[in-house]
C-alpha cells in the first residue's frame, strides 16, 4: 500500500504562549516546535499498516516554513517513514487551512496515494479541516475522527471506527481514501538514536510554494489573545462532607448559575 502521511510542526504543548508584536498571532520566538500530537498518531498508524502489509511505503509530506518543517519531516523519517516531501511556506502569517490543503494536495496528487493519513486536527489552530480539503482536491472520499484503522486484505477495504457524539461508529471504505485520524492502535513509538542520526542525512524533496494556492479563499488573523491568568479555584471550606456539598450546590446555583 502506498501511504502518504501529512505532518505539521506545532509548538510543544507545555510551551508558554506569547503574543506577537502586532497582536495577531503567536510569537514563534523561542518556541520549540514538535510533530503535532494527532499527526504523531497518524505516523504511527501509517507505520503499523506498512508493517502489516509487505511492500508498503510511507511518504511524509509537510507544508511550512524553515527550519521547523524540515525538522518534523526528519523526525518522521527517524520514526520509519521512507520518504519526505517539504512544501516550503512563504514568510509571514500561516496560511489558512484551505490554502494549506491546496499546498499539500499539489505534490500528493503526483505521488502514488492509496491512503492519505492526517491527524484529525493540529494542536495549534485546531481547525481540523485539511483532511476534507485534501479529499475534495484529490477527488477521493475522506472520513475524520477515525480510530482503530485496519486494512482488510481479502476485501481490499479499509475498516475502522469513528468516534462521534453518539458513540463509536463502525465504517468501511475503499481505497484511495483520506483519513483524519484520532487514534492509532498503539501509542506513538519514539525514534531510536541511530535512526535519528541517519535521518539527518536523508534527502528531503523540496517543492516550491505556488502563490495561487492561497489567492482565494482565505481568512486573515486579526487578533491573538491570551486569557487573563486563572487565579486558581475558590476553595470551599467545610467541616463535614454534607456541608461541602451544600455549599458547592449553592455557589453553582446562585453565583455560577450552571446548576440544572
Amino acid at each position: 500500500m502506498e501511504i502518504v502521511v501529512c505532518v505539521k510542526p506545532v509548538p510543544e504543548s507545555e510551551t508558554r504562549l506569547r503574543v506577537s508584536a502586532d497582536g495577531t498571532s503567536l510569537d514563534p520566538e523561542a518556541v520549540k516546535f514538535v510533530l503535532a500530537g494527532y499527526d504523531e498518531s497518524a505516523v504511527e498508524q501509517a507505520l503499523l499498516l506498512k508493517e502489516s502489509l509487505p511492500g508498503s511505503k510511507v511518504h511524509a509530506v509537510s507544508f511550512g516554513p524553515a527550519p521547523r518543517t524540515e525538522e518534523v519531516l526528519r523526525a518522521a523519517i527517524a520514526l520509519g517513514c521512507d520518504q519526505a516531501t517539504w512544501v516550503e511556506a512563504p514568510p509571514g502569517p500561516a496560511p489558512d487551512p484551505v490554502a494549506t490543503g491546496r499546498a499539500l494536495a499539489r505534490p500528493i496528487f503526483a505521488m502514488p496515494h492509496d491512503l492519505v493519513l492526517c491527524g484529525k486536527q493540529a494542536g495549534d489552530d485546531e481547525a481540523g479541516l485539511v483532511a476534507a480539503v485534501l479529499g475534495e482536491l484529490l477527488g477521493v472520499p475522506d472520513v475524520g475522527f477515525v480510530v482503530d484503522l485496519r486494512f482488510d486484505v481479502p476485501s481490499g477495504r479499509l475498516r475502522f471506527r469513528r468516534a462521534t457524539e453518539g458513540g463509536l461508529e463502525l465504517w468501511e471504505a475503499p481505497t484511495p481514501c483520506v483519513i483524519g485520524l484520532q487514534q492509532a492502535w498503539n501509542d506513538p513509538r519514539t525514534a531510536k538514536l541511530p535512526a535519528i542520526l541517519k535521518s539527518r542525512r536523508v534527502a528531503i524533496a523540496k517543492v516550491p510554494y505556488a502563490p495561487e494556492d492561497s489567492s482565494a479563499p482565505r481568512s486573515v488573523a486579526e487578533k491573538f489573545e491570551l486569557p487573563p491568568p486563572r487565579t486558581g479555584a475558590a476553595m470551599i471550606e467545610y467541616k463535614t462532607p454534607a456541608e461541602a456539598a451544600a455549599k458547592l450546590v449553592r455557589v453553582l446555583r446562585e453565583e455560577a448559575k450552571v446548576f440544572p
Binding site: L17, G37, S41, D96, P97, V98, G101, D124, E126, A127, G128, L129, V130, A131, A132, V133, G135, G139, V140, P141, D142, F145, V147, R161, E165, G166, G167, L168, E169, L170, W171, E172, A173, C177, A216, P217, R218, S219, V220, A221, E222, K223, F224, E225, L226, A233, A234, M235, I236, Y238, P241, A244, A245, L248, V251, L252, A256, V258, F259, P260
Partner: protein, 328 residues
Amino acid sequence: MTPTVLVVGESSGGRLAGASLEAAGTARRLAAGDGEVVGFLAGAGTGAAAAEFARYGVGRVRVVDDARFDAAPAAATAHAAAAAADAVGAKWVVLAGTTFGRDLLGRLATRWNAAAASGVTEVAGDAEGLTVRRPVFGGRATETRRLVGDRAAVALRPHAFPSPAEVPVALAIEAVGAPDIPAALFGPKRTAVETAGAGSGPGLADAAIVVSGGRGLRAPENFRLIDELAASLGAAVGASRAVTDAGWRPASLQVGQTGRAVSPQLYIAVGISGAIQHLVGMVSSRVIVAINSDASAPIFKVADYGIAGDLFEIVPALTAEVRRVRGI
C-alpha cells in the same frame, strides 16, 4: 442588504441535533433585517427535522430526501449543501461544529470556494463578511479571524451559542433531488453504531454538564460514584486517560489531548490531578469544579471552585444534595 444564510441541519431519528438549533438561532441573528435563513437537510425521512426548523423560525427548508446520505460520509452531504447554497443564493453557511459538521466544513469550503472557520464561539457579520472568535491551543488562547471574500462558512462550537427560543413559522419544504455527486463519495459506509457504555445519558460532546473521574477513584468498581453523580445532574460521564488506559471505561469516554475535547457549561473533575494532557481537553469549559484529595494538585489552578478532600465522602454527599435540591 443583509444576505441569505444557509443553515445545514444534522438529524437522527427525526430529531434535529441540539447543536443544529444553536446554528439556526445564530443564522437568524446573522440574517436579521432583510436577510433570509434557509434550512438544509439531506437523508431519508427528514420531514420531522424540517418541522423542527420551522418551530425555531426557519420556515424555508431545502430537503434532499435520499437514504444514500444516511450511511455516507459528510463529504457527500457537503456536495449537496454546496449545491443548495448556490441554488438559494446564500452568502454564508452556518452549521453545528459536531464531528459531522467539521468533516462537512472543509469539503464545503473547498467546493463552494468559501472562507471557513471551525470551532467558532462568537460570530458577527457585516457588509464585507464575517468576523469570528475561536479558541486555539487547547483553549489556552483565542484568535479573532476575518473571513474575507464573497462567501464564508462557519462551524459553531456546540454549547457556545444559546439555544434559540421557539418562534414557530409556517413550514415550506423545497424537496429537490441530489445533485450530481461523484460515486466515490458514497464509497465509505457506516455499517453499525456501538453506543458508548452509559446508554441513556447525553453524549459526551453534546452534554451541558460533564462529570469526569480519574485515577483517584482507585478501582473500576468505584467509578459508579461518577455514574451516580452524573445521573443526578443529567450529565455525561467522562474519564481521564489513566482510567481509559486501565480499561475501567471505554476509550470513547476519554477527555483530553488524545481523546475528546469538551466545552460544557459545567465540568466536574473528580480524582483527576490535572495533567496538561487532560487540561487541554476541558479547559475551555465555562465553569470547572475540582474535587481532589491533594490540595496542591494542578487541577485546582484551572478550576473555578475546588473541594480538597476525600472523594469517597464528598461525592456521595454531593449526589445526595443534588438529588434533594432537584427533587429526585
